[in-house]
């Protein structure tokens, strides 16, 4: 399951790529993919120090080594527990350079040694000046380009897009980050999840084992939720590429996606507000469509533009569909986007004809198989 094949619907996420140029990085990433000879990047994500990322990663390195893969260690974190040291004793280490500015992996030595797998821990580090690359994640890209698989680990704090959130919660800051796009582009990501009390215990605190029992655990729990959701997002992106690559039916269910169907006559503000709340509570995604039927007035278009502005502020993707059959257009769009819930306003039409044959809301309910339909009052 490769994460490098960006598909149409993933383009949205590219807006979250780091400065300066998202397109350039994407091209670079795709170009690298073709030259990698099957080398894979696997990242172990943790929400805080002490969750056991390094242990999980090195334990995998040990198991691969024991199964006959050629594994070396390029660099590991400074402080190590006894368990981690025990694992390291069983692995070949290519010592990193020590400089006053910090450590840097010995890229030439690793490339010369040409192992199948190299352990690089942690992933987020700035290289000392004079190094070939400014950042360690660029070293990792070079290893991958040369057919060397990489096992690496990163802490949520060191993901650029999460740095401020983590800082707001814990007060900790860092200058060493990797872009989130790097995680989204990794072949594999694994979250190392432990309860906060265990994480604190590894840092020398007392075990409580009764859920969240103090404010420190409460903070960690917030980070933990963020890390779980970030991993879910990466998994979702991988799933989407897999589904596209294999041409199979989209998979519903794991992630809530809400579609607001707005018309100039719907109670759009209430629908948008509810959509936003649902999106946040479910940590889901929000989409808005307007189906443009021939013969709509200018006043209608002005209303829709206003509603779309509000929807975008609420974090929704907006799209105008053109069709003389609005319900079919909505259902088709909903399937493509793997929508789980469609929001629509009650019909204002009330003729006997509509009631029996064509009340659009009732038609939508009939046709939106497998998708919930939520009908809103005016």
């Amino acid at each position: 399951m490769t994460g490098y094949t960006f598909t149409g619907s993933q383009k949205m996420r590219l807006s979250e790529l780091p400065r300066p140029s998202p397109e350039r990085l994407l091209k670079q990433v795709q170009a690298e993919e073709s030259k990698r000879w099957g080398a894979k990047l696997k990242i172990f994500l943790g929400y805080a120090p002490g969750v056991g990322k390094s242990y999980r990663m090195l334990d995998e390195a040990r198991r691969r080594h024991e199964r006959g893969e050629d594994v070396v260690v390029g660099v590991v974190q400074g402080q190590q527990s006894e368990e981690v040291q025990a694992l390291l004793r069983r692995l070949e280490i290519i010592p990193p350079f020590q400089t006053p500015e910090g450590e840097a992996i010995d890229l030439n030595a690793i490339l010369g040694r040409a192992p199948q797998v190299c352990v690089i821990d942690p992933l987020a580090a700035r290289n000392p000046s004079g190094s070939r690359h400014a950042y360690r994640w660029q070293d990792v890209q070079e290893l991958l380009r040369n057919g060397i698989s990489v096992l690496s680990s990163v802490n949520l704090l060191h993901v650029e897009e999460y740095k401020n959130k983590v800082q707001a919660i814990t007060g900790k800051d860092t200058t060493q980050t990797i872009p989130k796009s790097f995680l989204l582009a990794a072949d594999d990501i694994v979250i190392v999840d432990v309860p906060p009390d265990l994480c604190l215990w590894r840092q020398g605190e007392k075990l409580t084992s009764t859920g969240i029992s103090n404010s420190q655990e409460r903070q960690l729990s917030e980070l933990r939720e963020l890390a779980l959701l970030l991993t879910a997002e990466v998994v979702d992106a991988q799933l989407e590429s897999y589904v596209h690559a294999h041409g199979i039916e989209p998979v519903f269910g794991a992630h809530e996606r809400f579609l607001l169907c707005l018309t100039p006559h719907s109670n759009a503000p209430a629908m948008i507000e509810s959509g936003e709340r649902n999106k946040e509570r479910f940590q889901g995604e929000l989409y808005t469509v307007y189906v443009c039927e021939p013969g709509r007035s200018k006043r209608d278009r002005v209303m829709i533009r206003k509603y779309f502005d509000a929807a975008q502020k609420a974090g929704a993707a907006t799209e105008i569909l053109e069709s003389d059959d609005p319900i079919s257009a909505i259902v088709e769009y909903a399937r493509e986007k793997r929508i789980t819930q469609i929001f629509i306003g009650h019909s204002t039409h009330n003729t006997w004809r509509d009631r029996v044959f064509g009340d659009p809301v009732l038609r939508l309910i009939r046709e939106a198989e497998g998708i919930d339909v939520r009908v809103f009052p005016h």
């Binding site: 998994v235 794991a254 198989e369």
Partner: protein, 382 residues
């Protein structure tokens, strides 16, 4: 999350499939706990486990299993009474969703676990996401497979901790192909069934989101208890507006139809995420509920019991002027914000006669939100 301090706390290792390493993780943590807190026992452990897991298990004190004969074969079950006599601080119990062999004192392992918790023993256990009752339909929608053994949400909800045990689908498939999960003759079946293609990715995502949601719920519980204020992930943007929002109230309409179970599960899930109140309503057209045909009455009672088991309040009212009308009136009287109904599939003739209940509700409740819940019982591509 119970405030009752005499009750043992529960920790659940949650995975997305067999072989992700739940048991292994639990045993490894258990060994660490022996050093820290002592008095840890292995109360139940699958005897046919994988070699590396077996090695972990041997390092722990095990309470011998109870051997039960059933139809000429010997089965092993947890000996709950023996665990109670042993009185450990922590008991590790594999496979929470397991159904006991007929003739056991309790029919489900989660019931045995309740007994241990009530006795003040801390329990650590393992389960997969598909065993959570309220996710049953979603799992079926993803995999096309109906999971029979489920654990009520309330049991999981009362756990002090949920730990997500994660592994990549690639690694899991490698384990499967190496024969580390099932016996060789089972592997092919697994690869075309539960372990097929995108299933694993979708179940994995569901597990991660469920774990995040469980973490979020425990944060609210803590915050309410301590008056702790921290911007929550799930309220990150709307913190200004969210608190002024009137509380949502969800009304689930109960019928004798089997689709009601799905409706209840979906209503419960949405209510959980929206922090909404949730009530289930049955409307009878007979003068008295008791006058319903026995079969219908039993089906309704089953659904009402199911709703209550998910902590949903239940009500029964009479509605001689039509069910849809009674539901909508009840909703208005009780400040319901959202009515949940199942999508009733009927033919054209019934539609011409205006006999589609779902559509009646939508027409009558112009002033309310009506959520028509989709039939998720059909798997992908069917």
């Amino acid at each position: 999350m119970s405030a009752d301090s005499s009750r043992g706390s529960l920790k659940v290792y949650l995975g997305y499939a067999a072989g992700v390493g739940k048991t292994f993780q639990m045993l490894a943590d258990g060994q660490a706990a022996v050093q820290q807190r002592g008095n840890v026992v292995l109360a139940y452990f699958e005897p046919h486990s994988r070699p590396d897991t077996m090695a972990q298990a041997q390092a722990l004190e095990a309470v011998p299993h109870r051997k039960v004969e059933y139809r000429g074969k010997i089965f092993e079950e947890m000996d709950t009474e023996a665990v109670l006599r042993r009185r450990p601080t922590i008991a590790l119990v594999d496979e929470l969703a397991h159904t006991n062999i007929p003739g056991s004192i309790r029919s489900k392992r989660w019931e045995d676990v309740q007994v241990l918790l009530d006795a003040g023993i801390e329990v650590w256990t393992t389960m997969n996401v598909q065993h959570i009752e309220s996710l049953n339909d979603q799992v079926r929608q993803i995999t096309g497979i109906q999971v029979r053994e489920t654990v009520p949400d309330g049991i999981v909800r009362r756990a002090a901790e949920i730990v997500a045990v994660d592994v990549t689908p690639d690694a899991l498939l490698n384990r499967l192909k190496r024969g580390a999960i099932y016996k060789p003759e089972m592997v092919e079946k697994a690869l075309t069934g539960f372990f097929k293609g995108s299933n694993l990715g979708a179940l994995r995502e569901l597990t991660l989101r469920q774990a995040a949601h469980e973490v979020d719920l425990r944060q609210s519980a803590y915050d309410e208890m301590r008056g702790f204020r921290l911007p929550r992930v799930s309220e990150a943007r709307a913190s200004g507006t969210t608190h002024n929002q009137p509380k949502e109230r969800i009304l689930i309409h109960i019928t004798p139809d089997p689709s009601t179970a799905m409706l209840i599960r979906r209503g419960r899930r949405v209510a959980d995420y929206l922090h909404a109140d949730c009530t289930a309503l049955f409307v009878h057209q007979t003068p008295e509920f008791a006058q319903l045909p026995a079969e219908e009455r039993q089906a309704v009672e089953k659904h009402l019991r199911f709703a209550r088991s998910l902590q949903i309040a239940t009500r029964i009212v009479g509605g001689s002027n039509g069910i849809a009308k009674a539901v909508v009136e009840f909703a208005r009287r009780n400040q319901v914000t959202q009515i949940f109904v199942a999508h009733s599939v009927v033919g054209l003739l019934a539609r011409l006669r205006g006999r589609n209940f779902t559509e009646d509700i939508v027409r009558l409740a112009q002033d309310l939100q009506v959520t028509v819940v989709a039939d998720r019982s059909r798997g992908p591509g069917s």
